[in-house]
Point group: C2
Chain length 199, copies 2
């Protein structure tokens, strides 16, 4: 970041490493931070550092957690026999926002991707199977993303889970609500037709 | 930021206070920070806090500076009798990027704006006049923004500076290079015509 004084170019360089924050945005933010009252800049820095330090993984489901167990796993009412399997903690937060699902989660922290050298032992599949053996699990909902890796991961897990007893379900593919048939890609349209339901 | 664990919602809330960072972006960044290695999160926090602490104002021109004088004021070669008057430190950085201007700066830290209660005593006009009296100043280049407040501020300063001796100039208005006459607003076109030069 040429032509800037060092403190500003340092801030900009660090912000530039965040996703979606390009050089120009990073510099604009660095200048804004330079103009902030000292205590506001401290609050920002402290929230990042203390926040990051406080984040750990739930020992049961692998979600982000402030304590040993995340809020979902710690809630007795959520132990209803359902486990929803997702890739990332942020998928949990997307599903929790709906206030629709009342079971537990299992965060894989990745999806199978032989191209990137990510195999079954690199994501939390073993932990899922352990949970199925020790907890009362009636249904495993596979909610990995509807992309190649997500589908492969869901298929792989289903093959391992079914012999253990629980139902295995996959989230529905179809036309997004508010979408337009004309602009929906062919694969999605085929899935939407296949997945049609009685009205 | 509902449904998030506290450390993540704290980070998101602080990031949300930055300009151009909405709730969704703040949350996305907070999740990214949560997934960062601990030392990277520390580097980010430390750069913000140490950076902000290290930033002070140049005692001469008012630009951001790491020391008593900014790099421009500290450079003897830049004392050529020209002072370029701008609103913000970031305007200095925009002009320095060009490597075209070889004089000094004066940062007003604002523009006159009676609507917002900002009068001549609230921005660094007094300091500019002091500099003209003590330094050898041959030209004051008024480079405030070409908006209502910027024009009014430039006109106000010119009226005070001219009796003291230096030339007063204003940056040119006109059609931006690469722009299109058809899509240029009328006021700019009028200024471009008025400011025409021999070829």
């Amino acid at each position: 970041m040429d032509g800037q004084i060092e403190p500003i170019s340092n801030i900009a360089a660090e912000l530039n490493r965040l996703p979606g924050i390009g050089k120009k945005t990073a510099l604009r933010l660095a200048y804004y931070i330079a103009s902030m009252p000292l205590e506001d800049a401290r609050d920002l820095a402290v929230s990042i550092w203390n926040g990051r330090k406080a984040i750990r993984f739930c020992e049961c489901c692998g979600n982000y957690s402030a304590g040993e167990l995340c809020a979902v796993c710690a809630d007795e009412k959520r132990h209803n026999g359902q486990i929803c399997v997702v890739r990332d903690p942020r998928d949990v937060s997307a599903l929790e926002r709906l206030h629709e699902y009342s079971g537990l989660y299992h965060v894989l922290h990745g999806t199978l991707s032989p191209m990137d050298g990510i195999g079954p032992d690199d994501i939390r599949i073993r932990e899922l199977l352990d949970r199925i053996e020790t907890e009362q699990v009636s249904e495993v909902i596979l909610a990995t993303n509807p992309d190649v890796e997500g589908e492969a991961t869901a298929a792989y897990i289903a093959r391992l889970v079914k012999p253990l007893g629980p139902r295995c379900t996959r989230i529905a593919h179809g036309v997004p609500v508010g979408g337009d048939l004309e602009y929906t890609d062919d694969v999605t349209l085929v899935k939407a037709l296949e997945g049609r339901r009685e009205m």
